[in-house]
């Protein structure tokens, strides 16, 4: 396993473009969160301190940071599709197989890399959230600090699921740009299907079905936190209430998609003549 990971890391880290993109997708959100937690004086008019709004309190901070950091996943998605696209355009996939890498090992080396970077990112976001949270939060008992930690697990599952989808699209169309276009098409397709079901039956049912679609199920893992922050400000406004939790069954759906995408990528490569 380490051999396969090592192999793929060499391919990625010696390439300047992917090095920059990896930096942007994992290190940048880390710094942005760090900076936003500082007091910012806006041209002397007023002082902006997000911490005062209570958004950096436990347990809501887990929700906010993971939601914010997951927006940066698109940069690493580019790395994932291009690591497949480049293998095809340089024909190095053929050479790798001739040199004695099996097709299974080839897919696994990509998958291990995805898992590796997802772990790194989760650990980074976890650490920064913990530090900022401890600094701002008035309650620092372990039971409160770790109450929202399931968002971190959801973040990890979300990254793996999304990158596996990118891996599959990369294998399917062999070209980085087309694979990204496919992602966009899938996004539109999910909404068209949602619209069709909502039109034929009712919106509630449509939303329930939509929650099983690949992209939507990944999005559902960490819902947008703004409504939740608003809720904490106006606890009496019942119409704002919504289910923002990161549930176990939502993770299961995404993990099923992940398994399916990796399996299909392998089948596709196995069937293909290079």
């Amino acid at each position: 396993m380490l051999r396969l990971l090592n192999l793929e890391l060499q391919k990625l880290l010696l390439n300047r473009t992917s090095k920059i993109l990896i930096f942007v997708s994992f290190i940048l959100p880390f710094f942005v969160i760090l900076l936003s937690s500082l007091k910012i004086n806006v041209f002397g008019f007023f002082t902006l301190e997000l911490g005062e709004l209570g958004v950096f309190n436990f347990p809501i901070i887990w929700h906010l940071t993971t939601f914010f950091a997951s927006q940066f996943k698109f940069f690493f998605a580019i790395v994932v599709v291009s690591m497949i696209g480049n293998e095809y355009s340089n024909k190095t996939i053929k050479q790798n197989l001739i040199d004695g890498l099996s097709k299974k090992e080839f897919i696994l080396s990509k998958f291990y890399t995805i898992v590796f970077f997802s772990i790194v990112s989760t650990v980074l976001i976890g650490l920064i959230s913990l530090c900022i949270g401890l600094y701002y939060s008035s309650y620092t008992e372990a039971s409160i600090v770790f109450r929202g930690v399931e968002f971190l697990v959801a973040y990890f599952v979300k990254l793996i699921g999304f990158f596996s989808l990118c891996l599959f699209f990369g294998m399917l169309v062999k070209r980085s740009a087309f694979a990204l276009a496919f992602l966009f098409i899938l996004f539109i397709l999910e909404w068209i299907l949602f619209g069709l079901i909502a039109w034929q039956s009712d919106g509630n049912l449509a939303e329930k079905i939509q929650n099983f679609f690949p992209l939507k199920s990944m999005y559902k893992l960490i819902d947008q936190p703004f409504q939740r922050i608003a809720m904490s400000k106006f606890p009496d406004k019942a119409e704002l209430a919504y289910d923002y939790g990161a549930h176990g069954y939502e993770m299961l759906i995404v993990l099923c998609w992940t398994a399916l995408f990796i399996f299909l990528s392998f089948k596709l490569l196995k069937k293909r003549d290079l």
Partner: protein
């Protein structure tokens, strides 16, 4: 003899097109093999199948004694297919390190193999800065990294300038001299003739011949002759039992032998008959002539 690769009744179809049809042959240790055939005769497809990048339709093949999986066997094989494929943004050394990781070979081999192909001074230059000849030589170095039992080369001199072709051929000869089994696919007949001891001839995916180069067609060779008494010579040859066909083209008489004959005996015989020669050459058909004869015979 120890067999390295055995192919039994291999067939590969791409949709309606049959690229390889019912092909069987065996590669034994220590020989230099050539796979000959015009473009599109199924050479690369056959190699692709045994190298695990093309799926077979029917038949089977096995490496070594048949107990090693293809995936493990390939770690003991060195192969280059068509174009050299490397990561353009890595240097030669970095590219070879990657191959070492795949094959499970120690890094210490890298400089040794770069030395063989003469790329040691350029080892820290990026692959994309290399000329085609250098890329092809790097591919050979990469294929040699694991000290392979068999080296497979598919059109290794394609697209190279005469100097590049010469360099690659010299490298191949050096490797062959060390006793490494080589399988060389090419449509360039003189290339195969210069290095190979055995050939497999393919046309449209069908095997026409496999065996030693010099036994490809049963022939005793021919004489090329010139003399001032041409008509007498032709008359004599046509009545001689050892000769078959006689051709005359621009004062050059070509006489094909039906049975073995030494040139000094033949010269003596003619002199006794009063014919003095101004030109005498005894030759065997070149591989090109043999190949054309073989493919022509099978067309009719």
């Amino acid at each position: 003899m120890e067999s390295i690769l055995t192919i039994n009744n291999l067939t590969k179809k791409f949709g309606y097109l049959t690229a390889v049809k019912d092909l069987s042959f065996t590669i034994n240790k220590g020989n230099v093999y050539g796979i000959l055939g015009p473009n599109g005769s199924g050479k690369s497809t056959t190699l692709g199948v045994v190298l695990n990048v093309v799926n077979k339709t029917e038949g089977d093949f096995h490496w070594f004694d048949g107990n090693t999986s293809t995936h493990d066997a390939l770690k003991k094989v060195g192969a280059i297919i068509e174009r050299p494929n490397f990561y353009p943004y890595m240097t030669a050394t970095q590219n070879l390190k990657l191959v070492c990781k795949i094959k499970g070979v120690d890094y210490s081999k890298i400089d040794e193999k770069l030395e063989i192909v003469g790329l040691l001074e350029r080892k820290d230059s990026k692959f994309k800065t290399y000329s085609l000849g250098m890329k092809q030589r790097l591919a050979i170095a990469s294929a040699l990294l694991n000290d392979p039992e068999i080296l497979i080369l598919d059109e290794p001199t394609n697209g190279l300038d005469p100097q590049g072709i010469h360099q690659i051929r010299e490298i191949i000869k050096q490797i062959a001299a060390k006793g490494t089994t080589i399988l060389l696919a090419s449509h360039l007949l003189d290339e195969v003739e210069k290095v190979c001891s055995h050939v497999v001839v393919l046309r449209k995916g069908v095997k026409l011949y496999s065996g030693r180069v010099d036994e490809m067609i049963s022939s005793h060779g021919f004489f090329e002759l010139k003399t001032n008494k041409e008509s007498e010579l032709v008359k004599l040859l046509e009545n001689h039992k050892s000769f078959g066909k006689v051709k005359v083209h621009e004062n050059l008489v070509t006489a094909f032998l039906n049975e073995p004959m030494k040139s000094d005996d033949f010269n003596k015989h003619l002199f006794e008959k009063g014919i003095t020669l101004t030109h005498l050459v005894q030759r065997k058909e070149s591989l090109e002539e043999q190949f054309l004869q073989l493919t022509d015979n099978n067309q009719n």
